[in-house]
């Protein structure tokens, strides 16, 4: 067995342990991906992804371009052309569900391309995702406006007239208020000014305080280093390394090599 695999199974045992609630009753993982394969047409992109996000955890999915981070998130949302394996969301199997039922389990998705609608105003974009039947309070609209004051100021502008940073804020802010409690955030810090990245970082910390479970797909390790409880590294459609936050120091060299930093 190679050392990476040994470490992986060791830390999975740990994280499985930490998912046991104090009452002794096991709480289902927010997201539990097992042996996930996914395709776009004929091209086989994911090759057996294994990944867990426990309730309240912030997890970062790292990897080089083309490693399969975005596809992993898209596969959860049913946006790949085919997928096999198992994707559990709060204990419910998602594979086989109609696409619009995934969100209703409590999932909020922010796509890499942000997905701001040009024919909708900022306010309409913000209010577009319907409330989900989860009873999870999330953020109130006022709280979100405190986090991102620009969105309130520009409520009536067409969504795509906002600056890149404002569009990114809008793309994440609109899934804070729906009752989603697992957020899949794809490359939210990419190509943005440092001040915006800081604002987004603060928002992610607030998410954690509110009990959200978060899966960040990131190329920018420095952004996620301060936010995530655990890291997965992907390569060629597989998870090749799992690192606890506490192990970051020891494994920095290995990580740098995998990320090509």
């Amino acid at each position: 067995m190679n050392p990476v695999a040994t470490q992986m199974s060791a830390s999975r045992l740990q994280s499985a342990g930490s998912s046991v609630a104090p009452t002794g009753k096991a709480e289902p993982a927010a997201l539990s991906i097992r042996d996930l394969h996914a395709w776009y047409g004929d091209s086989h992109v994911l090759h057996g992804v294994e990944l867990t996000v426990n309730p309240g955890e912030t997890i970062c999915l790292l990897g080089r371009n083309g490693a399969g981070r975005t596809t992993t998130l898209r596969a959860v949302m049913g946006l790949t052309s085919a997928r096999t394996g198992s994707i559990g969301v709060f204990g419910k199997e998602v594979i086989g569900l109609p696409q619009h039922h995934v969100a209703r389990l409590g999932v909020g998705y922010c796509p890499e391309e942000r997905g701001i609608f040009a024919s909708l105003t900022t306010q309409e974009n913000f209010l577009l995702p319907p409330d989900l039947p989860t009873r999870f309070p999330g953020f109130s609209i006022d709280e979100i406006h405190q986090l991102f004051p620009n969105l309130k100021a520009r409520a009536n502008s067409p969504g795509t007239r906002l600056s890149g940073g404002e569009q990114q804020m809008l793309a994440v802010a609109r899934i804070f208020r729906t009752g989603a409690r697992l957020l899949l955030l794809d490359e939210i810090s990419e190509g943005l000014a440092p001040v915006i990245v800081q604002a987004l970082g603060r928002a992610i910390k607030e998410l954690k305080k509110k009990g959200f479970s978060v899966l960040l797909a990131e190329q920018n390790f420095r952004f996620s280093a301060k936010l995530a409880d655990r890291f997965y590294v992907m390569e060629r459609g597989k998870i090749v390394l799992e690192i606890e936050r506490s192990e970051l120091g020891n494994k920095q060299a290995e990580l740098n090599e995998l990320l090509g930093v």
């Binding site: 949302m77 049913g78 946006l79 696409q99 619009h100 039922h101 995934v102 969100a103 209703r104 998705y109 796509p111 997905g115 609608f117 040009a118 024919s119 909708l120 309409e124 209010l127 577009l128 995702p129 319907p130 989900l132 899934i175 729906t178």
Partner: protein, 295 residues
């Protein structure tokens, strides 16, 4: 008598009014097509047949069930909408994700089928359909006499257009529709039932064609072929306005109705082709149409 460019003013104003009325019908019909095309990328060739069904239902309601105009103004669009809903659910939905040409062929075939059925039962001679007593008679507009019903039909068409515009541009449901037009996958990922949205949109567009049919019934002869005579012009208008553009459909529908009317006064020989000449011009200069966005 007063003249403009050598044309008597009353004649000019008369054609302007008739043009506006035709334009209101064009607008309502192209609006239904545009909404459906925007959301589904599907050209509904059966739109003219749905228009005809609306008018035929109105006529049949009076003939067989003694239901007057006002009843049929409500029931016929509902019936056509329900028919459209079934067409989407049972047939078009299966073609989703395939080349849109299949949908075009399916709805073309459907058009032949529907028109064929109505021809078999009712012939092609056409029947008159009287406007309701309340709207009989004529109105004196000062410069011309216009049948009261024409004024009503124009107002009702414009109200339907404005209502549809409001629904799409100003309501929550409309924001789902606009978002779905741009990025259906993301709309689904937010938990919105997109297939349901498509089905209802198709039903709504069909009902709009049905409503236009009922409103047109007292103006033109009700006949199984009344749809196919009109639909080609409406397609041209949708292309001019920009496929899928709500505002484009309304504005170009009205504008082309007026232009067509005025052409009858100024140079009658091209009045039936002016729409297509304009379509060719627009396609040369702005291939996406006047209000369309390049994809």
């Amino acid at each position: 008598m007063a003249e403009i460019f050598g044309i008597p003013v009353p004649l000019l104003l008369g054609q302007l009014m008739l043009g506006l009325m035709n334009g209101a019908f064009y607008a309502m019909l192209s609006l239904g097509l545009a909404v459906i095309f925007g959301l589904m990328d599907e050209v509904n060739f059966a739109h003219g047949a749905f228009f005809m069904m609306g008018a035929m239902f109105a006529w049949m309601g009076g003939q067989y069930f003694h239901l007057g105009f006002w009843w049929m103004l409500l029931l016929a669009p509902l019936a056509v909408g329900l028919f459209g809903l079934l067409v989407e659910r049972l047939m078009l939905r299966r073609l989703r994700g395939m080349d849109p040409i299949y949908g075009l062929l399916l709805t073309f075939g459907l058009t032949l089928l529907i028109e064929g059925l109505f021809r078999t039962f009712f012939g092609v001679a056409g029947s008159p359909y009287n406007p309701p007593a309340l709207l009989g008679g004529t109105l004196n507009l000062g410069f011309m006499y216009l049948p009261t019903y024409y004024v009503f039909a124009m107002a009702a068409s414009l109200a339907a257009c404005f209502g549809t515009w409001f629904l799409i541009e100003r309501t929550k449901l409309g924001s789902y529709l606009r978002a779905g037009t741009e990025n259906p996958a993301l709309v689904q990922a937010f938990g919105i039932n997109f297939p349901l949205l498509v089905m209802l949109t198709f039903a709504f567009g069909s009902a709009l064609a049905g409503l236009a049919g009922v409103l047109a019934a007292p103006i033109i002869q009700v006949s199984p072929l009344m749809g196919s005579n009109l639909i080609i012009v409406v397609f041209a208008i949708v292309v001019i306005g920009g496929m899928g553009s709500v505002m484009g459909a309304i504005v170009s529908g009205l504008a082309l109705g007026v232009i067509e009317g005025l052409t009858k006064v100024f140079y009658a020989p091209i009045s039936s082709t002016v729409v297509f000449i304009l379509m060719a011009l627009v396609l040369t200069v702005r291939p996406a149409g006047l209000f369309g966005k390049e994809k």
